[in-house]
């Protein structure tokens, strides 16, 4: 048993060493291969299944990428419940000090464009981007991301062009600025699965790592895959 433990430990060490060698990983940029630089990582769940990372594509990059990374192969319902609980605490805290909160919203199931626009208008939300799901001509799910224009929240002509004949099922997520005075009631709407407010917190944490000529790109993705596959 002891020999087995030593062998397993050494094997783990070798595999970890290989990853450590590649910790600053190669990245395709233009037609060059450059070194990705990890500036910081931190657990958002104590068990490490959800982390946030701060990286640059290469040493010279002016873009600092901040991400919520979900180890989604083994994320279970309890993990998500813990994440949602922590998020609710953050939401309450941010609502006291901010007038608007940048959020990533995932719906419990896709909603119609009319429902979406009603919800957005009622809560005075400024939509940055939206995500739709459709069934294409090969019976495959098509995942669409788009942006509002000056005339409408979801520009219909552009959507028709992008759908390319696919049948729209609905809006499953969006990113936008939600007024603090509405956000907690909005989050408790039965059609809303998660209003993730991590962007403000990660931005504040990462700003310290940014040089004057650099900019942050903070990614907080929707969790539609979790709602559809795990819940």
């Amino acid at each position: 048993m002891k020999k087995l433990a030593i062998t397993v430990s050494m094997a783990t060490l070798i595999i970890c060493s290989i990853f450590l060698v590649n910790n600053s990983s190669d990245k395709v940029s233009g037609n060059k291969i450059t070194e990705e630089v990890v500036l910081k990582t931190e657990n958002l769940l104590e068990n490490g299944k959800i982390k946030h990372s701060v990286t640059k594509d290469n040493e010279d990059s002016k873009e600092i990428e901040v991400r919520v990374n979900m180890n989604n192969g083994n994320l279970n319902k309890q993990d998500m419940a813990n994440y949602k609980k922590e998020n609710s605490k953050n939401m309450a805290s941010l609502a006291k000090t901010k007038s608007i909160i940048p959020s990533t919203v995932t719906f419990t199931s896709p909603i119609s464009i009319d429902e979406f626009e009603t919800l957005v208008n009622k809560n005075q939300i400024q939509v940055e981007s939206f995500n739709l799901i459709a069934l294409d001509n090969n019976n495959m799910h098509q995942f669409i991301q788009g942006v509002p224009n000056e005339e409408s929240i979801i520009p219909k002509d552009k959507l028709e062009e992008v759908l390319n004949g696919a049948d729209l099922e609905g809006v499953y997520a969006f990113k936008g600025n939600i007024p603090s005075k509405f956000i907690e009631a909005f989050n408790s709407n039965k059609s809303v699965y998660l209003t993730d407010v991590s962007k403000t917190i990660l931005t504040e944490k990462s700003n310290k790592l940014k040089k004057e000529d650099e900019h942050l790109d903070v990614h907080v993705d929707d969790v539609f895959w979790f709602v559809n596959e795990i819940e």
């Binding site: 910790n23 990582t41 192969g73």
Partner: protein, 183 residues
């Protein structure tokens, strides 16, 4: 050589072999280069004739054989990347793909306000891609006064690094370059 040392040596060798372990498959020459690369595809780039304010790029009919899908499924996040090497047009924010649970990303490493990399990424590692299925990724940019531009079309297998939790395009294979012309 005792048995333990032999075992560890074999493990190290396998760990460094492409598709078995953690060695990286990286190729920036045209065409399919690895067992996980697609066996056929169409890639396009053009100024949209029905809407001259738009430059379109797409992967169409990207097909993988059974060996390739086996290598993608389970541990990797299939990623289609468009490298905008001329970096002279602003992205318009629209994307579509039938990659399972596709999410999208764009990078502006030089801070010029344009995006030199655009990606469609499978966002749930448990979702499987199917052999011989046609996969696509379509996206577009605002037009500019420039007369031409260049897009490099790349397939990647991305992973979450178990040590630092960072999501990274670990293996990549450049397929083709496509140009758009505005005259």
């Amino acid at each position: 050589m005792n048995k333990k040392l032999l075992f560890l040596t074999v493990l190290l060798v396998f760990a460094l072999l492409p598709n078995f372990g953690l060695a990286r498959d990286t190729d920036y020459t045209p065409g399919a280069s690895f067992a996980w690369s697609p066996y056929s595809w169409n890639v396009n780039s053009y100024v949209d004739s029905s809407d001259s304010s738009e430059i379109v790029a797409s992967f169409e009919k990207v097909k993988f054989n059974q060996t390739a899908t086996d290598l993608h499924n389970g541990a990797y996040y299939l990623t289609f990347e468009i490298n905008n090497t001329t970096d002279n047009v602003p992205h318009n924010g629209w994307y579509s793909s039938n990659i399972p649970y596709a999410k999208y990303d764009k990078d502006d490493d030089n801070g010029n306000g344009y995006s030199e990399e655009i990606e469609a990424i499978k966002s749930y590692v448990g979702a499987k891609i199917n052999a011989n299925q046609e996969y696509y990724f379509r996206t577009s940019w605002f037009d500019s006064t420039d007369e031409w531009g260049e897009f490099d079309m790349i397939i990647q297998r991305s992973v979450v690094n178990p040590l630092n939790g960072e999501f990274e395009g670990y293996h990549y294979d450049f397929l083709e370059t496509r140009y758009w012309f505005n005259f």
